[in-house]
Symmetry: C2
């Protein structure tokens, strides 16, 4: 390889091509996220149906449960297929080690589903354990989406992914609320534990949705804000969070809670589908833009080089980066480029450089936000694993710790993760 | 693809293999850094010789300059060759777009070298412009090293790279000090500008070397601290920073400054070579460790699966992540694994997950450090490009701004970069 303007041009074009490839890769990831969102939704429905089935006596809800199981099985296949494809395309990327490790957890959890379902049908599993298993599978699926979000190297797409991930997390807390409420209503009594759990789940939802609104596109955010208020469901929420004695008709109340909560979740799913479409549109948009830019650059350079051969008695160029008054006298004869050509090539290089830098600037800002979120998730996971807490119990524990020490939640999480290995080795 | 333990194992192994591949890729990058360090050193020598040549009259130093040019040409080839190889291996990586754009700048700058040298031989270029061109080429080479450092996905290697990069930056400031001092001594007078420049360069050196000591291995740090003090050179520094009137024998003083400064730089080069060796050793060490871990994992899993077929009347496993007291009752029959086997597979998955998480934890901490450094470098580059300042003038400007507003340097740099596009469009 020689150090001449042709080689410089070669790498300039390579840099652009790289961007296009990354965006194509991002598009594949976006597709995966859409399929995961679908699978999670069906698992949430299955969890809700399982709750009604276990909490009620007799064959009631058995058919609904069977239907939900079928839907979840159907939704599982496309996810597994894209994961298989993903492995082919991303094995070379540094971040893939974490992605694949996450996939292993997901697959392992999904592998347990059939057994879980058997024991549910046989009513061989207590309702809390059953719920915990579904929560766990979904948590692993969400962790996968978070890994994908983490590696998005294009700001607009990254924001769309953060919005989608936050919404999915909020929706999952809503799903857990549906399950907990359905169980309590059907059982007919709400103890302190259940009420605290519900309050915690409502709080967690609000946080996720605030975050979603911060990152979502105008339209989706507006759709959510319009849909949010559902007086009927809010009324049942108040009952659930305040009632102490058993209701008059537990079965009916349980069912109407389940129905309203399910309508709410279905509404969320519609917004989520909209988010998935936005995500895909942004990916495709960025790809088209990048491809156009790639072609334009190619064209500019061809014009540049076509004039390369012309006789140029005393041509000269700047050395890259030395522009500006201070070096006005800094002329140099180049390697066969006229001054204006040399400067335009230099201009192209600097332009690309500046553009990538400001992209990187935007991304690192987003990564800080993401990083904090990820640390909190991990700290939660740690508590769940080693103290056997549920997700919102773990979250509450972290929040209490933060308040009692008057620290930020992220600081508590970071502290917890720095001692993670100790916890791991002495569970 | 089916959701069973074999698939989970498949991705668990894929995750490990990924790590090994990344480390191999990192090794290639490390080799590049070593070659760049060599090229920079020869360019620094050439810059120094050019200074003596331009500042002295007559043919003095012409032979030395010719020899230096030859050495720089020799050092250039291996860098260009690894860059060519790098393009083959890293085109798929997201960060490569920035890397390649950096390569384009480097190649463009190197392409100007022959012309630069012609004009120096003909004494057709003023000394400051000449120096600025060399500084610029080296700045682009250092930016390349910084990109490589940025993408190191293994903490131990990343730290070695940060140490090496910081040292290389410090050494370059030392090289600029040699050039400025040689020019001033030979010219026989030091005006305020030169003195301020020298003070700024000394300050910048100290900052880089402090940073180096923070990240370097014990031995290299110690070697540096031992070598640092050189009374002879310090004496000349004091003269340079205080003297106002011309010296008695400018040529001799210029030469002795140049000689002492060169000895200092050669000493630095030796330490830098040591750092390059440490870097390679760490890469190789991590590769070996990762490969061993890969094999061990494979072995564990084979044992696991070999016992898979055994009759297991009522085997059961946990769902991943649901361990711990809270779910002690959470047993499930798995997909053909005995309880202990299921748990050991789950253990392997969780172990990998935890390990990758704590690696990521360490890395994001390092990235914060790196990110701030990178922002400051970029802000400097911006000022150099649009105000035509020299590197340490730009740095001084940033520092002044920070002090006057009582803000951190990084905040000033970040603010400057957020308005970069404005500056870019209205140079």
């Amino acid at each position: 390889m020689r150090a001449d303007s042709s080689t410089a041009i070669h790498f300039l074009l390579a840099s652009r091509r790289c961007e296009v490839n990354n965006l194509r890769h991002l598009l594949k990831n976006g597709e995966l996220v859409g399929k995961v969102s679908q699978l999670i939704h069906t698992l949430q429905c299955e969890r809700g149906a399982s709750n009604l089935y276990l909490c009620s006596t007799g064959p009631a809800f058995a058919d609904e449960l069977a239907r939900r199981v079928e839907e979840a099985d159907i939704a599982q296949t496309p996810v597994l297929d894209s994961l298989a494809r993903l492995e082919q395309t991303t094995a070379a990327l540094p971040q893939s080690s974490r992605l694949f490790s996450g996939v292993a957890s997901v697959v392992y959890a999904l592998a347990m589903l059939p057994a879980l379902r058997r024991q549910i049908r046989d009513r061989a599993l207590p309702q809390p354990a059953m719920t915990a298993f579904y929560n766990d599978i979904i948590r692993h699926l969400l962790a996968l989406v978070s890994e994908v979000t983490d590696t998005a190297a294009e700001p607009a797409v990254a924001r769309a992914l953060i919005a989608m991930l936050s919404f999915m997390r909020g929706k999952e807390f809503a799903g857990q609320e549906r399950a907990a409420g359905a169980a309590a209503f059907t059982a007919g009594h709400f103890d302190d534990g259940v009420r605290q759990q519900l309050v915690g789940l409502i709080h967690s939802q609000e946080q996720c949705f605030e975050r979603f609104v911060d990152f979502a596109d105008e339209e989706s955010a507006q759709r959510w804000l319009n849909q949010k208020a559902d007086s009927g469901f809010e009324r049942l929420r108040r009952i659930a969070c305040t009632r102490t004695e058993a209701g008059s008709a537990p079965q009916e109340e349980g069912l109407s809670w389940y129905t309203l909560a399910s309508r709410r979740l279905d509404g969320m799913k519609q917004i989520e589908d909209g988010l998935a479409r936005t995500l895909m549109a942004r990916c495709q948009g960025s790809i088209d833009a990048a491809e156009r830019a790639c072609d334009d650059q190619q064209a500019d350079i061809e014009t540049l080089m076509s004039r390369r051969g012309e006789p140029a008695p005393d041509y000269a160029v700047f050395v890259a980066g030395s522009e500006g008054g201070g070096l006005a006298e800094g002329w140099l004869s180049g390697d066969g480029l006229r001054p204006q050509l040399g400067r335009s090539l230099l201009g192209l290089i600097q332009q690309q450089d500046r553009r990538l830098q400001s992209l990187d600037q935007e991304l690192s800002a987003l990564r800080v936000t993401l990083g904090e979120r990820k640390q909190i998730e991990r700290a939660k996971g740690l508590l769940m694993q080693h103290r056997g807490l549920s997700e919102e119990e773990a979250y509450t524990a972290l929040r209490r710790l933060a308040m009692s020490q008057n620290k930020k939640l992220i600081d508590i999480a970071a502290a917890m993760l720095t001692i993670a290995d100790v916890l791991a080795n002495h569970p």
